[in-house]
């Protein structure tokens, strides 16, 4: 029964990925990455990972799409590569032979598929992720957390609270870095404007 949901989602994921790679309209490509994120979120929901699905839907489909669209609205519409190619050239097929990239991609894909043979089956009770932290957090967290039902939150905020503090610091640092890079221009502009205003007043 689940196959009726799982197979269409995976097929749509593959189709969306190919479309993103092939499409040349940047606006459409951004929208397709948003669709890809939503499909990934649905897929994670099927895998019983609602916390990850939440994050993927909110960050991947929501914020990232908005920021990419904002970037596109700021950049010139015409895409120029290395000063020689214009957007019309970009539509054409690349002149290089596709054989070498195809070979590399095929070998990498085969290696990855070969690697999955060693992985445990989905939901295998003897998989390392189920047996490794002995006794597992799932068993320990109920008495430790005094009845907090969400083990994911217990692990993130309490058992691994120090890691989450580091992640929050990373988000903070990234925000400061973006602010330092992007805000400089507007500061210069406002200074120029204020100089112009004072100049007019004087």
């Amino acid at each position: 029964m689940m196959d009726f949901i799982v197979i269409p989602i995976l097929a749509l994921l593959a189709a969306t990925a190919v479309t993103v790679a092939r499409i040349r309209n940047l606006w459409a490509a951004v929208m397709f990455t948003g669709i890809y994120s939503f499909l990934s979120a649905s897929w994670m929901l099927i895998l019983d990972a609602p916390d990850v699905a939440f994050t993927e839907a909110a960050v991947g489909a929501g914020i990232t799409t908005i920021l990419m669209l904002a970037t596109l609205s700021l950049t010139p519409r015409r895409h120029r590569r290395s000063g020689r190619l214009s957007s019309e050239d970009f539509e054409e097929r690349p002149s290089r032979s596709p054989l070498v990239p195809l070979l590399i991609v095929t070998i990498t894909g085969c290696a990855l598929v070969y690697g999955t043979f060693d992985m445990p089956h989905f939901g295998d009770p003897n998989a390392p992720i189920q047996v490794y932290p002995q006794p597992s957090f799932v068993e320990k967290s109920q008495p430790d957390m005094h009845g907090l039902p969400n083990v994911v939150t217990a692990v993130l905020a309490s058992y691994r609270g120090y890691d989450t503090l580091g992640e929050t610091a990373v988000i903070f640092t990234a925000g400061i870095a973006v602010l330092l890079i992007l805000r400089k221009n507007t500061d210069d502009q406002s200074r120029l404007e204020s100089q112009a205003v004072t100049g007019e007043n004087a």
């Binding site: 609602p50 916390d51 699905a53 939440f54 994050t55 909110a58 960050v59 929501g62 914020i63 908005i66 920021l67 904002a70 970037t71 609205s73 700021l74 950049t75 010139p76 015409r78 430790d144 957390m145 005094h146 009845g147 907090l148 039902p149 969400n150 994911v152 939150t153 217990a154 993130l156 905020a157 309490s158 609270g161 120090y162 989450t164 503090l165 929050t168 610091a169 988000i171 903070f172 990234a174 925000g175 400061i176 973006v178 602010l179 992007l182 805000r183 221009n185 507007t186 502009q189």
Partner: protein, 161 residues
């Protein structure tokens, strides 16, 4: 977006529910799926939606950039401060068990004990309080950083060439 009345009206209808859902995800994160990070992103999404439809000056009135910039640090300080309070109370850094305050459980439990002789459960809520504070810090930082990045992008002029 001033010339799209449908989008403006629908946005105004949607934003309260987005904010409410963000609060739910934030404060219900220890019982259901969610937590500070997701709630922060949802909260920021509401602000960004408002900014997209009603323009940057309107959203600057709701969430002034100077306040948002300071909130990025406030969230992190709430998180680290929770850890420091745990140390001051004699525990390890981020060891929430020392945060047991007993206000919410011992009083009802005492009343319960007075009113009936049934066995009652003492719920030590140190872990709950610690996780609540920590997730609050994460939520504040994520909301502020996402909104700040949007401000930084939207405040720039379009490159013309």
């Amino acid at each position: 977006m001033n010339s799209f009345p449908i989008i403006r009206v629908i946005t105004k209808l949607l934003i309260p529910y987005i904010l409410l859902f963000g609060l739910y995800v934030q404060f219900h994160g220890d019982f259901g799926p969610g937590g500070g990070f997701q709630a922060g992103v949802i909260f920021a999404a509401a602000l960004i939606l408002y900014g997209l439809v009603y323009g940057l000056p309107a959203v600057h009135k709701v969430a002034p950039p100077k306040v948002i910039e300071k909130l990025t640090a406030v969230g992190l300080l709430v998180y680290a401060g929770t850890g420091l309070v745990c140390m001051l109370l004699g525990g390890n850094f981020l060891d929430y068990d020392v945060l047991n305050h007993g206000l919410l459980t011992e009083l009802p439990a005492a009343l319960d004990f007075l009113l009936s002789d049934k066995p009652h459960h003492f719920l030590p809520e140190g872990q709950h309080l610690g996780i609540f504070l920590v997730e609050l810090g994460v939520g504040i930082t994520v909301t502020a950083v996402m909104t700040m990045i949007f401000y930084a992008f939207a405040g720039r002029e379009r490159v013309t060439s």
